[in-house]
Amino acid sequence: MVTLGEHGGTRILAGCTLLVGRPSASTPNHGDFELYMSASPLSGPRFDLGGRESIESTSVMIGAAPSSFNNVDEVESTVQVAHDPNENTDVEHPPQPLDVKVVESYICRTLRQSGYINPEELCIVKGKAAWRIRITVHILNCEGNVLDGSMLCILAALRDLELPMVEVEEVEGTGSVVRVVTDGAELTRQQQSKKKRQSGKKLTLGAAPISTTLAILPQGSGSEKKNVLVVDPTSFEEDMSYGNSVTVVCNTNGDVVNFSKKGSETKLSVNEMKAVVELGMERARKLDPLVIGS
């Protein structure tokens, strides 16, 4: 099923397909899911055919930079530094490109950790057949905060998913082969369109893991260094943060499913961490009814 997550410009498309596979020997009654995220030049001007975002050094933004190098002036004077370290507008700083594969791995891992999907529900025949949910996500328009948008989209898509009713047939000869006959597969097209498809089983899903991403914008220099955190950053805000962001995934049970701070220019203090987690909890409470309701 198709779901669009509209996100103040960022548009994500997610769909779920079902495949049948053999469960692994160590977990005979578990199904599995896999996630594929992709981007294309459709997503934005910086994306190439392979879905990779690239920042050309010629398109660098000048005059907007953090001065995180506050001890450069203590370096021995023989080093020719091209700018005056006391001014904070001299260093050119290209933004950090989005790596779709990193986001994909992060979301897949978080979904597994959160217990949103119960793998035992995906079992068809213990030890022989189980469902594999293939979730595909495509970024239609990338205007910042792809992570949050994709996460919501996937949660909604999974809630929309129905496992079809199946019959299992044993095939003689090669005893271990199992053929799954899905409902309505034998009908002709005409019959299919007339007959209302028997509704499948929806997944019973756990507490939805809602992610909240904040971009960290470094401000000031030296002892007055402060971070400004902005929730749900747009593309411009993400560029200004040079890849510094913090993502917290919370659910309505009050759990922190994942906490991840990325980026090398800024540091997060304990108080900031607490504030971010509290914000994440609040967001989970607000967005959970949306995900359930869809």
């Binding site: 160590s26 190098f69 891992r109 922190v256 701070k261 990325k262």
Partner: protein, 273 residues
């Protein structure tokens, strides 16, 4: 301590550390770090020109990380509790052991290490260059990601790359909620693979450095990058992990200093005698 750790240590005891600098002679810098049974080797090549010229930045260098997961794992994650009796108090390991790196793809781990290292290297000294960091897991027995970051830093020191600090990656496990009730000390530092894989536990890796405020008393650790995996945890668990990083940091930095001093002494004896 009413609740025993499978590795029979107290919650804040680290495993024995051992390091060797420059084990690889062809690389510009290299280090091999052993934390208990976890053995990581890192080689540094750089600064070199990037292979893809449009990747280079005109004002600063780039860190490129290659993370290689090995095949050998010490210990087994699936099995009974270490003291043999299952009196219900011991934790139940997962049927499948958690893969090193908490189920993250190599790309995600590379991005994590890249962020951690970029924060401490003076990249503005190496414009248009790439510092390539190659991490190889020789043996994995828990705390793989944190050890990889620490080992990479030692290799950078060995290579003579200009650095502005030594942030340390500390790994700890937040014990699962059911087992936490009534037991003091719910954070285990430097976990083994068995401790990481157990059901309901969360692994938290934090790369921290002392805060940059001028007030000495206020120099609390601040997080540069973080990585969590495993079961969901509570906010208080997460904050507690931050508090354990101080001890880990001082121990690790002291150890790194010792390793470098040993190497320099050895060089003085063999090369300059």
């Amino acid at each position: 301590m009413s609740y025993p750790r499978p590795s029979h240590r107290s919650p804040s005891t680290l495993r024995p550390l051992s390091a060797e600098l420059s084990p690889l002679h062809q690389a510009d810098g290299s280090a091999s770090l052993k934390v208990g049974n976890t053995h990581i080797m890192v080689a540094i090549y750089g600064p070199v020109a990037p292979r893809i010229s449009h990747r280079e930045r005109i004002d600063r260098g780039l860190v490129s990380v290659v993370f290689s997961k090995g095949v050998m794992m010490a210990g087994s994650g699936g099995g009974v509790s270490s003291d043999g009796k299952d009196n219900g108090e011991c934790m139940k390991p997962l049927a499948t052991p958690m893969p090193s790196g908490g189920g993250a793809s190599e790309r995600e781990l590379e991005s994590f290490v890249c962020d951690a290292l970029s924060s401490c290297i003076m990249l503005e000294r190496y414009p248009r260059c790439v510092i390539q960091v190659v991490i190889q897991i020789v043996q994995a027995d828990g705390s793989v990601l944190g050890t990889a970051v620490n080992c990479a830093e030692m290799a950078l020191v060995d290579a003579g790359v200009a650095m502005k600090g030594l942030p340390v990656a500390s790994t700890c496990v937040v014990v699962s909620r059911q087992l936490q009730n009534g037991h003091a000390g719910s954070i285990w530092m430097d976990p083994t693979a068995e401790e990481e894989s157990a059901e309901g536990h969360t692994i938290v890796v934090l790369v921290t450095e002392a805060g940059s405020s001028d007030d000495e008393a206020d120099k609390a650790a601040e997080v540069i990058t973080s990585f969590t995996s495993g079961a969901p945890l509570s906010m208080s668990g997460l904050i507690q992990c931050m508090e354990t990083t101080d001890k880990f940091n001082t121990a690790m930095v002291a150890f790194m200093r010792m390793a470098v001093e040993q190497k320099v002494q050895k060089e003085v004896e063999t090369l300059w005698s």
